[in-house]
Point group: C2
Chain length 221, copies 2
């Protein structure tokens, strides 16, 4: 009986080792690799935002009936894809952006914040105060925003979703750029691209900590 | 003897099949994946350009003695890496760039053109004429340049080396951006990223064909 027990144990251990080896060799899901090009034609993204806000919820731009009756196209486009990738965030969203004035992207970011996603934004001091900037609205919503104090521009245009996906390119998040400019946005899940951007964000976030701000006369007016 | 010959042939065929299978399974070189961050401190890139120009050749900025005696740092930095990736071009270089005024990058592109690399440049009509732009010098050197005629900006900032490597990011090729701004540049050999950029370049190149230019009074002065 003792020998049979030992044989059983050995068999179980072998089965476990085999299962572990199979688990290690399992096909990994391919990382997402997407390139979006702009301009993206004017389009309605209300349904996308309403769906992300949850049933019966307001999007921050009012409660939207589905399907939205507005005359704009409602189909797939580069802007709707960019929004979808952002709205996939469940835990965290880091944004490092030179210019941010798109109401649709601003709405998406506030929605994620309300949904409990930890949102942190770094932006450029000279551009954050321009007319139409979303930065004030985002701060009012309780989102943490830090900015540079340098003579050069904080010219990055990237976001990191849940620490696993980087969205980066030439596109500032402005309606002008989205609808009129030739632009590109890469959506990448390759860790070799995501990690350097995460490290860069954390480096800048610490450097732009308000405890390091210098309040010169021009800032204290 | 005939049977032995047949056996020998079968053996050779089997060996060939095995060799072919091994060749197919050979480890492929990993695609290059690099992320460069800026600002990059002022540095001397003359030795890099002189090396690319060949022994005893002029860089277009005069013949440089090696090592260069100037007081600037000569080590590895984001700008030197970007230059090295560009100078690796052997056959073709497509450039799609909003603003191009960096003398060092301009020099590298002219050098590649002189070396026989097929260089094509697409740029923004409003920015190509600004003071310090390299576009005039590149055209004088015989490089083909096309520009937009749209109200929006041609805001891309990418280059494609030998149809196998895309270099893209937030960085305009200006000394201001290189030395003062927070910027990123991705260097990627993944075909899934390179192909869409190549297609975008060819699309824009055809669209901006001078035969399509409209010469309004303001252009004919």
């Amino acid at each position: 009986m003792r020998a049979a027990g030992r044989a059983g144990l050995a068999l179980a251990a072998a089965a476990l080792a085999l299962a572990l080896a199979a688990w290690r060799r399992r096909p990994r899901p391919r990382p997402l690799r997407e390139v979006l090009f702009f301009p993206s034609p004017p389009s309605c993204t209300e349904a996308l935002l309403a769906e992300a806000a949850g049933p019966g919820a307001a999007t921050g731009r009012g409660v939207v009936s589905r399907p939205c009756p507005c005359p704009l196209p409602h189909g797939d486009c580069s802007l709707s894809r960019l929004l979808s990738r952002l709205l996939a965030a469940r835990r965290s969203l880091e944004i490092c952006l030179f210019a941010f004035s798109s109401p649709q992207l601003g709405c998406a970011v506030r929605l994620l914040h309300r949904r409990g996603v930890r949102v942190r934004i770094v932006t450029d001091a000279q551009y954050m105060g321009l007319q139409g900037s979303q930065i004030g609205l985002l701060r009012q919503a309780g989102i943490q925003v830090r900015h540079d104090q340098e003579s050069g521009y904080m010219h990055h245009k990237f976001a990191i979703v849940d620490g696993r996906m980087v969205i980066t390119g030439s596109l500032n998040w402005t309606t002008q750029a989205i609808q009129n400019n030739r632009e590109n946005v890469l959506v990448m899940e390759d860790a070799e691209y995501v990690k350097p951007f995460l490290d860069e964000f954390e480096r800048i976030w610490e450097e732009y900590n308000p405890i390091n701000y210098r309040f010169f006369p021009k800032d204290s007016k």
